[in-house]
């Protein structure tokens, strides 16, 4: 078990290093470095300025050298400096990580709360109208482009019926606002992004729950339990659902990757101040320190979740051995 864990961790670490170099190299292939962006509209920047800044930023060196400098800085605890915002990366990242965390966890909880009951009930009545309805919703959820859903949400609930703000994270107000007000305020800004981020997950989770539940209800002990005279509710939720839970947890852990991908788009559409939008903006403006760090954070997070899923799987099902 322990050797397995260590091996997986090692593999993950190697993967992160390889990917980070690849990402670094790819970013050097993007046209236009930060200095180019600076001169693009300012006719006053002189040739000397350009040369001096290139040298200062280390842009005149080949990719592998820059990468090794970057790694050295990271290892010494310096995450680098954002070329766009001109502040250290950690100052930029911390509040945004929190925002993204709130957004994705809320979306995750919301989709589980909707999808799991829906999946269970449709598994109980396969072929019923409800089953078909849930099936349709799931398919729609999987097929809907989340950014489009976001735009439609803005058109519907911010433009036509102005219920929610069209974008943003928080209303700016005095420091003296009450705690409850701040939560409500955050909620107001979360509704539309969460809605557009969740639908896809709802579709996926509902389908998984349904099939897992069907599988589990096929087992003999369910028949035994029903024969014993236990109530339907008890049979379904205690005996059936508990068994369906195992694959579900795995799916949940694995879905973190797609939630993060989704957050990039959702945050961009709603101008929500999260890591996803920051990743996109920094790649777009060639702010490579920020882009690299947020890229590595996202890869690490996904790998950790996969790792967690593996372990959970083993814990839940003793038949699986780690070799």
């Amino acid at each position: 078990m322990l050797t397995y864990l260590l091996r997986r961790l090692l593999q993950g670490a190697i993967l992160i290093v390889v990917l980070s170099y690849l990402c670094f190299y790819l970013m050097t292939l993007m046209p236009g470095d930060p200095v180019d962006m600076m001169i693009s509209s300012n006719p006053k920047i002189t040739a000397e300025d350009v040369e001096r800044l290139r040298k200062l930023y280390g842009l005149d060196q080949p990719a592998y050298l820059r990468y090794s400098h970057w790694v050295k800085d990271i290892l010494s605890g310096d995450l680098g400096y954002s070329r766009t915002y001109r502040v250290p990366v950690q100052e930029l990242l911390a509040p945004r990580l929190l925002n993204t965390f709130i957004l994705s966890i809320t979306a995750l909880c919301f989709s589980v709360l909707i999808a799991v009951p829906a999946g269970v009930f449709s598994a109980l009545r396969p072929g019923s109208r409800f089953d078909h309805f849930i099936n349709f919703i799931s398919f729609a959820g999987i097929s809907i482009p989340s950014f489009w859903l976001g735009i439609v949400c803005i058109i519907l609930f911010a433009v036509w019926i102005p219920l929610f703000p069209a974008g943003g994270t928080l209303t700016i107000q005095d420091e003296s606002t009450s705690f409850g007000f701040e939560v409500l305020d955050r909620l107001k800004y979360l509704v539309l992004p969460v809605l557009s981020l969740s639908l896809q997950q709802i579709g996926r989770f509902a389908r998984y729950t349904r099939s897992a539940m069907q599988e589990s209800l096929r087992h003999d002990y369910i028949r035994t339990a029903t024969a014993k005279g236990l109530s339907q509710n008890r049979v379904v939720w205690v005996h059936g659902f508990r068994n369906a839970l195992i694959p579900l947890i795995t799916v949940l852990a694995l879905s973190m990757s797609s939630i993060f991908s989704g957050a990039i788009i959702t945050e961009t559409v709603f101008a929500y101040q999260g890591v996803g939008k920051l990743t996109y903006d920094s790649i777009n403006s060639n702010d490579y320190n920020v882009a690299m760090i947020s890229f590595i954070i996202s890869v690490t997070m996904v790998l950790m979740m996969n790792f967690l899923a593996d372990i959970l799987y083993g814990v839940a099902d003793p038949r699986i051995r780690y070799v």
Binding site: Q11, L15, L19, C23, L26, M27, L29, M30, P31, P126, G127, H132, F139, A140, I142, S143, I144, P145, F147, W148, L149, I151, V152, I154, I155, V159, R207, R210, S211, Q214, S257, F260, S261, G262, I264, I265, T268, V269, T279, Y280, I283, N284, A291, S294, F295, S298, V299, V302, L303, N306
Partner: protein
């Protein structure tokens, strides 16, 4: 069960319709006189179900060309127009231009007053100046309907091509890994797993943002016109073969030890013929499912990247970049944003239902997975 097959057939039908529309796009363009790239700054943001006309410059140009092509025809119509004093000008060669400058219906009604085969000829040309905007026009005065159809062409082509190519790559890698096993299997499957565990979108954004010209080999393959489309297909292929590879490998692993393979081997069949004759036919079914689900996924990814401005570059229309364009205009004309998304939703859903139906047909037990 019955309902599933209904939805599958419906999905197949919608896919068929879109494929037909995208194949027939040039025909529709010729038939309706609409051009996905024809801009008209004087008829921007037209409402759906409205009539429009070809821009004035284009009308003048068409008349100019007509006069050059067939001076006699133009002269005879001009003469009869002047005889009946239907035009104000008395300069020679200007009468038809005067008509071209008028609102088109007015010009046609004037032409109707002359009864000659030549006039009918000219009238035909004027009729071709009238356009019908089913879905209105966009911010550059282009017809949204024809752009959606040409967008379908691009989006569907990208989706189908990517799914097919990804399936082929996956098949190759999966079958090699499954059949030969050992170190090769380990390396290939580790790569597959690594790619599967990536958060796809950030990676794709980085890859999509790079400049292909800077890569050593590619400039010979691409030119400016198709660069963004080729790049799109390449990127999506790079990141979508993994599921198929895993599937094929699993199938082949379980088939490898079965009696009929052992028998074939005993009879002296070569590896190649075992793979192509015996193993592949057995995985075709699940491949079909994977392809049909893959098309939907590729269309979604294409749309997402184009939406972020990193996909297919304008003026080539694709559903994704039409949406990207419309994003700023949701106040002005929400329909511009709603329509392309609806098309994506319909297509992807159809492919998903088709894939689901295929899966049911192949393996009734696995229903609902």
């Amino acid at each position: 069960m019955k309902k599933t097959s209904v939805t599958t057939i419906l999905g197949a039908f919608i896919i068929g319709l879109f494929v037909f529309l995208s194949l027939a796009a040039p025909g529709i363009k010729a038939l309706t006189g609409l051009d996905p790239d024809a801009q008209n700054v004087f008829s921007r943001y037209q409402k759906p179900w409205s009539r429009g006309t070809v821009s004035q410059d284009n009308r003048e140009n068409t008349i100019e060309k007509l006069i050059q092509r067939d001076p006699l025809l133009a002269q005879s119509v001009e003469n009869s127009l002047k005889e009946k004093s239907l035009v104000k000008t008395d300069l020679s060669g200007e009468a038809l231009f005067e008509l071209a400058l008028m609102p088109v219906p007015e010009a046609i009604s004037i032409l109707e007053k002359i009864d000659s085969p030549e006039a009918t000829e000219i009238k035909k040309i004027f009729h071709s100046f009238e356009l019908f905007h089913l879905f209105g026009t966009d911010e550059l005065g282009r017809d949204v309907f024809i752009r959606l159809i040409f967008g379908a062409r691009v989006s569907m082509a990208v989706g189908i091509l990517v799914a097919l190519m990804a399936a082929l790559i996956g098949l190759l890698i999966g079958s090699v890994a499954g059949f030969y096993g050992g170190l090769l299997d380990t390396i290939l499957m580790r790569t597959t797993d690594a790619l599967l565990s990536l958060p796809l979108l950030p990676v794709m954004i980085v890859v999509a943002a790079i400049d292909l010209q800077k890569l050593p080999l590619l400039p010979t393959l691409v030119n400016a016109q198709n660069e963004s489309i080729l790049k799109m297909i390449l990127i999506l292929c790079l990141f979508s073969w993994m599921t198929v590879a895993r599937l094929v490998r699993g199938n082949i692993l379980s088939l490898r030890e079965q009696d009929f393979i052992l028998a074939a081997r005993a009879l002296g069949a070569s590896n190649f013929s075992i793979i192509t004759r015996h193993l592949l036919p057995n995985v075709i079914g699940s491949m079909l499912v994977a392809i049909s689900l893959g098309v939907g996924e590729s269309i979604l990814f294409e749309a997402a990247l184009s939406f972020l401005g990193l996909g297919i570059q304008p003026p080539t229309p694709s559903w994704g970049n039409m949406l990207f364009n419309a994003q700023e205009l949701i106040y002005q004309s929400p329909l511009l944003a709603i329509l392309p998304g609806l098309m994506i939703l319909l297509t992807v859903m159809s492919f998903n239902y088709l894939g689901d139906g295929l899966q049911d047909a192949l393996d009734p037990k696995a229903r609902g997975r």
